[in-house]
């Protein structure tokens, strides 16, 4: 299998497409594969690199077919190669504005303007910030949202990880290769990660799990040096001396492009029906950005297949 960085992406110079996909995570690129195989001229817009959030994950162990797991970065590259194989064009351009009031839809990006007859929103989520004092001040000065990027900065240091869900657990295990000691601070009274990950946390001597605690504030001088945490039950505030903090306290939908135009649920996720149609005809949503009960690579891929197929149906019915 070739995991090398994909070749320079082709640029057809086209400004109009039958389908446009925003976001190149598992959902967006699967939609592009299905659209490409249906001979639909498709463009995928990605602001960073193909793969979406998955490229931040050191190893994905629960995606069927990869028995030993697969590094997220490699999986992202494979998805991109697969979408390009069937003719989709991937553009590394940030979408800055959408006009969904007229057909074809207008798409403004960091590099130009495009139009499309259908649209799939697969913009994913971002890590939720805690909104506590010191968080902004010490971001990249001790606080990180990407363990696979920044863990080497904390070689031999004490750190905290906020959140004991799947991301927090997985990243804690990764950070333990570098840090001396990790305290995982979890708001609820039990870790919410998969039991197999919880077992690994418990087996790791460097990791201590502190449930029913929340972060009150991050403190330091130029760099983070300590953090106040509160016991939810007793109200007692303790101070931990740490040089690093990694935050995995849930996610927020990347809905900026459509928050004023498309129906969202109370948490800001895009509302879809079972065919992944949104409140605007010809606009579909797939993957983590929509109101779905589970946000995993496997579910995003399923969403992408449905959205790609439904966009194709929409275009056929329009003819």
């Amino acid at each position: 299998m070739d995991f090398s960085i994909q070749k320079k992406q082709k640029d057809s110079g086209k400004k109009h497409f039958s389908a446009a996909v925003i976001g190149s995570g598992p959902a967006g690129l699967t939609a592009a594969i299905y659209l490409g195989r249906s001979k639909i001229e498709t463009v995928v817009f990605e602001k960073i690199i193909p793969g979406g959030y998955v490229v931040n994950v050191e190893k994905i162990e629960n995606y069927p077919g990869f028995v030993e797991g697969i590094p997220g970065e490699q999986l992202g590259k494979l998805y991109a190669q697969h979408a390009e194989k069937f003719g989709s064009e991937i553009k590394t351009e940030e979408v800055t504005k959408l006009n969904l009031n007229e057909m074809p839809f207008r798409i403004e990006t960091s590099h130009g303007s495009y139009t499309s007859d259908s649209l799939i929103l697969a913009t994913g989520t971002s890590n939720r910030k805690l909104g506590v004092p010191g968080e902004e001040e010490f971001t990249h000065k001790g606080i990180s949202f990407c363990a696979t990027c920044d863990a080497p900065f904390f070689e031999g240091e004490d750190v905290i990880v906020v959140g004991a869900g799947n991301s927090g657990a997985q990243e804690s295990l990764y950070i333990s290769r570098f840090a001396k000691h990790i305290t995982i601070v979890e708001l609820v009274d039990h870790p919410t990660a998969e039991p197999i990950l919880v077992d690994r946390l418990n087996e790791n001597e460097k990791i201590k799990l502190l449930v029913s605690h929340s972060v009150v504030s991050f403190k330091g001088d130029k760099l983070l040096s300590n953090v106040d945490i509160k016991d939810i039950n007793s109200g007692e505030v303790k101070n931990l001396k740490v040089k690093g903090a990694f935050i995995y306290a849930g996610e927020v939908p990347n809905n900026d492009l459509v928050k004023d135009t498309i129906k969202l649920d109370e948490k800001g996720f895009i509302v879809t029906d079972e065919r992944l149609r949104t409140s605007i005809g010809g606009v579909f949503a797939a993957g983590d950005v929509r109101n779905t009960p589970l946000r995993q690579v496997a579910t995003a891929v399923g969403d992408g297949a449905i959205a790609g197929h439904e966009a194709y149906r929409f275009l056929e019915e329009k003819k």
Partner: protein, 78 residues
């Protein structure tokens, strides 16, 4: 003047910075903190940063992938 790009192995924004510089034919020296952990310590002491990518060029320091800043400092037209 040498452009130094501090990166780590699994960092999407680092890949994006490198792609941007290569696309514009700009040579740079990459220092991967995952391969050279000592470089992480040096970077932290020198710049007060604990995140990558960091791009150092003369007196300029850019943290993260900031296309408009890169274009401005490296005089790259759109």
């Amino acid at each position: 003047m040498t452009i130094k790009v501090y990166t780590s192995s699994s960092c999407p924004y680092c890949t994006r910075v490198k792609k941007f510089l290569k696309e514009h034919g700009i040579k740079f020296k990459e220092i991967n903190i995952s391969v050279y952990p000592r470089a992480a310590k040096e970077l932290k002491e020198k710049t007060g940063q604990t995140g990558v990518p960091v791009i150092l060029f003369g007196n300029h320091k850019i943290v993260g992938f900031d296309e408009s800043k890169l274009r401005k400092i490296l005089k790259i037209k759109k």
